[in-house]
Amino acid sequence: MSEALMDVRPKRTATNWLKPHRIALIAIGLAIVLASIFLMRWDWLPQYMPLAIQGIWRTIWLLVVTSVLGISLAIPLGLAQAAGPAWLAAPAKAFCTIIRGTPLLLQLWLLYYGLGSLFPQFPWIRDSFLWPYLRQAWPYGVLSLTLSYAGYEGEVMRGAFAGVPRGQLEAARAFGMSRFTIFRRIWLKQALHRALPTLAGETVLQLKATPLVATITMVDIYAVASRVRQDLFVTYEPLLLLAAVYMAITGVIVFLFRKLEARIPTRIG
């Protein structure tokens, strides 16, 4: 069904796409890749491979965890702004404005260095069971990336919640659904459908924000590349590889969201 709906555009066949100039461009691209393989230094790669794979894993873990936590925070934030009473809407709006108005790097450093330097002054925090975690870097990284994602997505979800047609909600109420059932079955689902294309873009932006945690000593793939640069004084090779890794992850995110979107039937007018 979804395939039939997607087929509005003219078919993009291989011969249609592969024109002479494209073949030339692909050849030039291949030549650049081959030249960089043979002319640049890659002998460090086997030695750092395990570390790099661990770094990629940590980047993906960070992306998934902060996106999931962020979106679950963003839904109440969006709902509060779209339909909540003023005493809920105002703080939610203030939160989104502050998060969207300051650089993520600054938020991260404020949490890590700022809070991190305040915490040891309080003995009850040092005695609490949380202290072993608070001394590590990753809770601060996860917290600031989550808050940032929640701030941006809160705004997206506000628009999505407000955009669900009133008639849908009135019909649900006429069916005798409880308020929670309406929210779960109708309102949230339709809002998420509307927000999905935006969320795909925002998730790519979130991926591009993850390397910032390397500045607070978390070892993701970006930090591994920096380590290679400092250890061996090779400048470009790790950075180019890093760019390729991020492009690959971006491709996967876009592909997954496209799959998700294809499951939702849409009518193109």
Binding site: R100, L106, Y113, S117, K208, A243
Partner: protein, 237 residues
Amino acid sequence: MGLLALEPPGRGSFLLAGFLNSVMIAVGATVVGLCLGVCGAWCKLYGGPVARDLAAVYTTIVRAVPELVLILILYFAGADLLNKALAAFGYPPTDIPGVAAGIFVLGVVQGAYSTEVLRGAILAIPQGQIEAARAYGMSPSLIMRRITLPAMLPFAIPGLANLWLIATKDTALLAIVGVNELTQVTRTAAGATKAYFTFFMAAGAIYLALTLFSGAIIGRIERWARRGMPSVAGAGR
């Protein structure tokens, strides 16, 4: 609070200088990005097949790779190329000033995003207007100046305003390569005085003030660009 005073024991003057650098980089990067964006959008819409594909490669790569990685690559590659060019002409190598490097690097990043914004805005113009201009025998540059640019402005301004806000926040990333902008001087000042929380909060307040101020200005510009157009508020719902 005394740490934030403008007089020498306080570090307020450093923060202020850093803030001015940040604003300078953001303005420069937006201007460079706009120039690149106009070229990119022109290539994508009216360029030949090769120019079109090259523009697509540029926007795809820049938008898929984190700004932080791009900044490092462009920063090192730019400095390398410049020094090699200087050596080729027989000059000694120089250090690029941080602000200029920041403008170049962020400008290239902004260029990719503004390409997409401008392309969308040009496509949103009723195409009959451009066809009519062509029928009048206007030259392409005259069409650009008289018809395309003014007509696309109301469609482009929300996106460009967003890009400006992103540019102001992306200047913070230049702290990684040691450019003396607001975040970097804040970190230095905080490290020297150990008052991390105070300084980062102050810097956050400055960034927020800049964002809110920009928002107010953008609202006015938008109203100016939309002058004479029918109001669309509430028409969609």
